[in-house]
């Protein structure tokens, strides 16, 4: 039995190995036919003419994620502080499951909600056709809220109470003790929550595809459409063949490397926190 248990534990290692192998084995041959530099820095994506530049999508992914953070990070962190230090336990009892529910809603439902409510709203209030980076960022901000809230709340709760008591003893109020003593002590945990949120935002596909317009050109403004790396794969994989198909798998490779780098930063921050 021990062997069987060990074998199932090792499936994780095996799975990561297989994912890496197949992704790189099917994606890298593309670079034999097309220069990797042109692929990453090319600003034009025209598979029919054999031009594969994914810079617009790389920029798109980062811009949408940046927008999501601009909105989601402050709301998430402040909500976490509220839940950890200001709200009564009765309020927290309601908020915890609500945040978990927010995490559980499928991305296709988020996308549908965005398409039916946020897109027309944006079109009427701000102009453009509504399918935009703006809506995609708002939707992503909502989707990464639970990740940021849960991680930050855990980090704030992990700060020893003596910090708080010490601050009170120095004559500080409850509020300033929270903001000047506790939150700074939980900083690295909060940052790691935000990094985890970035990872989720970069990897999100379905919801963005439904609201972002998906034009494969350099982003021109927040009310204009945008295409991300993830959407590029999902949108064209269905009918792509040959070199075009390989270019999409190569897009996946680029995305994979970006996500791995973000995860590495996350575990680096976490490890440093444990050491402290």
């Amino acid at each position: 039995m021990r062997g069987l248990f060990l074998a199932s534990a090792c499936v994780c290692i095996f799975a990561v190995g297989v994912i890496c192998y197949f992704l790189f084995a099917n994606g890298l041959p593309f670079f034999a036919k097309y220069s990797a530099w042109d692929f990453i820095t090319g600003t034009e994506w025209a598979p029919l003419r054999g031009i594969y530049g994914i810079l617009p999508m790389i920029v798109g992914s980062f811009l949408v994620t940046f927008g999501a953070l601009l909105l989601g990070a402050p709301i998430g962190v402040l909500t976490a502080i509220l839940m950890a230090r200001f709200a009564s336990s009765r309020v927290v009892r309601v908020m915890k499951p609500a945040v978990a529910l927010l995490a559980g809603i499928p991305s296709v439902v988020y996308g549908f909600f965005g398409l039916k409510l946020l897109v027309p709203f944006t079109r009427n209030m701000l102009g453009g056709n509504g399918l935009s980076m703006f809506v995609a960022s708002i939707l992503l901000a909502i989707m990464i809220l639970p990740t940021i809230i849960q991680t930050s709340e855990a980090a704030i709760n992990a700060v020893p109470n003596s910090y708080y008591e010490g601050s009170l003893a120095m004559g500080a109020t409850h509020e300033s003790s929270v903001f000047r003593a506790i939150v700074p002590a939980a900083k690295s945990g909060i940052v790691s929550g935000i990094v985890l949120g970035i990872g989720r935002a970069i990897g999100e596909t379905t919801a963005i595809l439904m609201v972002a317009g998906n034009q494969a050109r350099m982003p021109t403004g927040i009310l204009a459409g945008v295409r991300t790396l993830t959407v590029n794969v999902l949108l064209e994989m269905g009918y792509a063949a040959d070199v075009h198909r390989e270019s999409l798998i190569a897009t996946g490779v680029v995305l994979f490397i970006i996500v791995m780098a973000i995860n590495f930063i996350f575990s680096f921050i976490n490890r440093r926190r444990v050491v402290q």
Binding site: L4, C12, V16, T79, F112, T173, M210, V233
Partner: protein
């Protein structure tokens, strides 16, 4: 409202309040409440919007103006007129069962190894942890490529429920593995010692004594996985595909989430889309509620 907050320290200290000072902190506190309201408000908005628009879609009025349940939404066969979601519901059940058949045994077995058998801090354990973390962080579109390249093409399973289930099984594996390990580790050592003292072996102790105590935690992870599986779209479109019938293991079949995505993409039947969204939402709320109920019972016992 309880202005001073719930988490005052165990020692009873009267918190000094000097409204003239630390205006900035008081402002920040107000911002915290505002952020909390936004978070809850957004959730309520999404749920209300879907329900208000979706629930009426389950009913239709006849000439006399009486309400009837729209049974055509649940016809056995899908066609472009009735837009039935029954095949998609059944496919979701099949997909969930198949995926769990893969991820639960592997996840629970692996969790047992990590918690009960492995030497803590050994190199292998470290590698398993890192890879499980990696698996958990991989976006679903990468799983879609993985499933397509490995199961659909290389292993020649074609676009089928089986390919989709193997993909989602891999995707939910780290969730179940980690939760199993954590639940097992939280079982007090004395249980194991008592069992050994009565002459039971390692395996017997693990399976008969420790595992049942950890069961609620594992169950909570399984319920969360069900939520993830029924809500997944990107990883399924190129693995289990978009077939509209009731799918067998080797057929292509769309789950509810994929159904919603396709209806939307085809740009028709807004009403039916809302109805599907309602069903999806209900599944997720139900799984979350059950999972937190079980988790609560677990903490009460502990």
């Amino acid at each position: 409202m309880s202005e001073t907050g719930a988490t005052t320290p165990a020692v009873d200290i009267t918190v000094p309040t000097r409204p003239s000072m630390h205006l900035g902190s008081r402002f920040l506190k107000a911002l915290c409440w505002a952020a909390g309201f936004v978070t809850i408000g957004v959730l309520l908005l999404i749920i209300a919007y879907i329900l208000v628009n979706g629930l009426p879609e389950f009913f239709s009025r006849d000439e006399q103006g009486t309400l009837h349940f729209k049974a055509s939404l649940f016809a056995l066969k899908y066609n472009s007129r009735n837009l039935s979601m029954l095949p998609a519901i059944l496919n979701t059940l099949t997909m969930t069962a198949l995926s769990l058949l893969i991820s639960v045994p592997l996840g629970v077995g692996g969790g047992i190894y990590l918690a009960e058998y492995a030497k803590p801090g050994s190199k292998l354990v470290k590698i398993i942890r890192v890879t499980a973390e990696t698996l958990a962080g991989i976006p679903s579109i990468i799983y879609a490529l993985f499933g397509m390249l490995v199961f659909v093409v290389t292993l020649q399973m074609g676009i089928s429920m089986l390919s989709g289930a193997l993909t989602l099984g891999t995707m939910t594996l780290p969730l179940i593995l980690r939760q199993t390990e954590e639940s097992l580790l939280s079982v007090p050592m004395s249980y194991r010692e008592g069992s050994y003292g009565l002459g039971a072996g390692k395996l017997r102790t693990t399976v008969r004594i420790v595992l049942p105590v950890a069961m609620p935690g594992i169950l909570a992870a399984v319920l969360l996985s069900i939520g993830r599986i029924s809500g997944e779209t990107a990883a399924l479109i190129f693995t289990s595909g978009t077939g509209t019938g009731i799918a067998g293991i080797n057929d292509s079949g769309r789950t509810l989430a994929v159904h919603l995505f396709k209806l939307q993409e085809e740009g028709r039947a807004v009403g039916a889309s809302f109805a599907v969204a309602v069903v999806l939402l209900i599944i997720v709320v139900l799984m979350n509620a059950l999972s937190s109920y079980i988790a609560k019972r677990l903490t009460k016992k502990g």
